[in-house]
Symmetry: C2
Subunit: 194 residues, 2 copies
């Protein structure tokens, strides 16, 4: 499979492109390989690109009073970045790093701005991307605040079975707003029921 095939497969599902349009957009993309447990972005830096995950997995998190709070996992086909920092060119408030060896398709701020000006289909793609991200975040926000802890975990397992397989338990606990001990208790309880 050519380097950008997976990226454009996802793009075309949102907004069908002609061959010429695809070539134009591809000329703005860059590919980056990062080994596992390496930083893609650190708090305080400007997020100069957002990344489409071609291969591998990442986590996005903040550190508050010394504690990590995971806000997002990203596996193949997902997009990740510190959007506020990317758009405003202000320092990032999140850290992003790889969990596994990863291959990222990067869109830089300069490329993004130029495509917004010159390629209406890119604007549509980005609008749909951000709309999807907003809806996912709102769902996540509602359930984190309101669901009983057990259900938070069972919903997560149901929705993201692949992430459960690939991500350490203590990170899933952080994502769900639980302590590792609470998550461990919930998992034992659920295992007994089976």
């Amino acid at each position: 499979m050519a380097l950008y095939d997976f990226y454009f497969q996802q793009f075309n599902e949102k907004v069908p492109l002609t061959k010429e349009e695809q070539e134009q957009i591809q000329s703005y993309l860059t590919l980056r390989k990062i080994r596992k447990k390496q930083s893609f972005l650190q708090e305080g830096e400007v997020c100069k690109s957002y990344a489409f995950v071609n291969k591998g997995s990442l986590r996005k998190y903040s550190i508050e009073n010394g504690n990590e709070h995971i806000i997002q996992f990203a596996i193949e086909g997902w997009t990740v970045g510190d959007l506020l920092s990317f758009l405003s060119e202000e320092p990032a408030t999140y850290h992003i790093d790889t969990l596994e060896d990863s291959e990222l398709v990067l869109m830089s701020k300069a490329a993004h701005d130029e495509l917004l000006r010159t390629q209406p289909k890119y604007e549509t793609y980005f609008r749909l991307l951000i709309t999807g991200a907003y809806i996912a975040l709102q769902r996540r926000h509602s359930f984190t605040l309101s669901l009983p802890v057990e259900q938070r975990y069972t919903d997560f397992v149901k929705k993201y079975p692949e992430i459960v397989q690939r991500v350490p338990q203590h990170m899933i606990a952080s994502y769900l707003g639980l302590t590792p001990e609470t998550l461990s208790r919930v998992r034992k309880k659920l295992a007994k029921r089976k």
Copy 2:
């Protein structure tokens, strides 16, 4: 001030419009007045329009296990709706109702779809609207999970002083993920320090 002046003031700050473009977009808008404590949207209905708040205030919330969880307040100049329901035409998962007598500028789904097809500046406006909403939600999500309760409240007061004046305390508690008792304790503690 003419009915849609405030709406177009905010629109032009995001995307400058010519007089003709403004007239085109205005032809799709409708104005709706709702008295205080009335429903704009109920869970299970389809969200047929999203609303720009010309006057008044609203809250958006979910009900889980009999408890209300407020996810957003909206005052003049803000936009509110159940986006997932609006875009997908699936039943809404949120309730939205007015806190005060309100005046709303409505954009229906049919109008939204037609403007996306025919008016590129509307697409840009909507992209910026949703980008801003995503950033605000992400910020809110991070601090709700991670900040100590006292700081959640002081940050909220600093950021939204007008909402603190206009919205009942128990609703602010719900928004911050606190019980009314906890919020009351925090407020007393802060008052003593002054």
